[in-house]
Assembly symmetry: C2
Homo-oligomer: 281 residues x 2
DNA sequence: AGCTAGCCTGTAGCAGAACTACAAACCCCT
DNA sequence: AGGGGTTTGTAGTTCTGCTACAGGCTAGCT
């Protein structure tokens, strides 16, 4: 929100810019103020404040105030999220964390839940489940394996293209392949996905919307961090992908017959995150 | 906020409780609604809604709306974060994401920055940097390797106890070992850390505060998600650990001479997350 | 059971907030 | 300098949030 104001600042009218400067200088004061006080402090008239809100894409002053409150709470105090060597350790850690948090919030709000539902349905019917990924996404794949396993669902994670090619080719009919990729353009992954599809299997893609992988997949769980600066996305999207895999595993374990996740159903402390007291490194 | 409402629910009056139930059921709708609509949907009169706001400690309806918006954004929407098999996919994914977001927010606010500063100082002087971890933390260690490498800092990740024991024993004097562990009680990790310390090396622990690992380490970056339910922490803490490692790598690269991170300094798009356009899987 | 005290709930009215229509002022261009 | 268009402020309207007050329900006592 603040970054947005900053970006649009130059394209605003003179008196609207006064409002923008005031908001950028003291963002905390916005939610508590009314139009009148804000207009007075900026030295402009009340409708100008409303026009400012419209100009930056809000639906009026109320909406603007709400968004500001939300933005401040979710921790986007630093306008320029660009880190610089002059930043203090505090500022730097704040920026990195804020970025990570913002990406998760976005991922939560933009996750297509109907795709999630069908993905779970596919997984329920699958005789075997494989998870593939390379590079950082390879780590996500392995993490997904952990998450599924913890919930009593056997899956196999593959990070080596030669291995997952073989595995994909030998998947029994109806199996599900979860393909994780930040870009959705990794050739080896696309190849294995097509092999699996040809063998009558389903592919659940956790990747960017509109990518080649998303195109060929049965279902795509996109977590687009459709934000201003896409240079962040590699770092941001891996966190979103981790969370999406957790959601998948959790949703699946909920739908399985009680026997397979009895350790979750029967212990009162059992919640997200697996068995309490389990000593995981 | 929502947890507060839930806690006070039984002490509310009958018609106020109707409002509470409505809010708990559909928290997202609150910020967009007015008193009138909320009152109508709850089947009560408008002043009752205001009385409800006062009862839960707010300064009126406006204040209540703002706090709700803030709460939702910072990621605590669903009261009972306990997932149940009756949850819809939306609710489930919301809960999982909210949990992840909340843990990152907490980690950000509780990260000890003075420890971060000294950690960076230690890393700057280190002739070699190793990162160890097991299980899920092993994946974090590998992810950290990625992050450091991307910023031009060579580090070695180890997830095998036998290997990192050898590596720790042969670390040159002044080297730094980053030990990642959710519990801080993994015997093998403690052993290698002690070997490194005996050899005149420093240990930066990314682990729970007060754990055995934290005790023996030179510096501890604790990311305690000191929350109500600690059964979630395994899942939550791994995200926090990932972020902490990112912060470490970023802070270090900022302090290094320009030559080693020139690709960051000279390209205008260079920001958190590495080189733009890099095709990472 | 009937009555009364006290609390809870809804109606009516008021102040102020957000927003809209219109007119004045400004700027730029010819 | 004058006229078109844009920008800004003024006046008015609607609706929102809030308060004062009165009716009704519950509960306890006789």
């Amino acid at each position: 929100m603040l970054t947005r104001i900053n970006a649009l600042r130059t394209r605003l009218r003179r008196s609207e810019r006064k409002v923008a400067d005031l908001v950028l200088e003291r963002p905390d004061d916005v939610p508590g103020s009314s139009i009148a006080t804000l207009a007075q402090r900026a030295g402009v008239s009340e409708p100008t404040v409303i026009r400012f809100c419209r100009a930056i894409g809000c639906n009026g002053f109320q909406d603007f105030k709400l968004r500001m409150a939300a933005g401040l709470a979710s921790g986007e105090p630093y306008v320029a999220s660009t880190v610089s060597s002059k930043d203090s350790p505090e500022a730097l850690s704040g920026k990195v964390f804020d970025r990570a948090i913002a990406s998760l919030v976005q991922a939560r709000n933009h996750l297509n839940t109907e795709a999630l539902t069908t993905a779970v349905d596919l997984l329920l019917d699958a005789p075997r489940i494989d998870v593939y990924g390379h590079g950082v996404s390879g780590l996500v794949a392995q993490d997904a394996q952990h998450a599924f396993l913890r919930l009593g669902i056997p899956v196999m994670a593959c990070t080596d293209p030669h291995i997952h090619r073989i595995s994909a080719a030998t998947l029994p009919h109806g199996s599900v392949l979860i393909a994780i990729s930040q870009t959705g353009r990794t050739a080896e992954l696309l190849c294995s996905a097509e092999l699996a599809l040809a063998a009558g299997c389903r592919v659940i893609a956790v990747t960017a919307c509109g990518s080649p992988l998303a195109e060929i997949s049965t279902v795509t769980l996109y977590t687009d961090v459709r934000d201003d600066t896409d240079s962040y996305t590699p770092m941001a999207s891996r966190l979103a992908h981790l969370a999406v895999c957790d959601v998948l595993a959790m949703a699946l374990s909920m739908r399985l017959p009680a026997a397979s996740n009895s350790h979750l159903q029967h212990t009162p402390e059992a919640r997200i995150g697996g068995l309490p007291g389990s000593t995981r490194a």
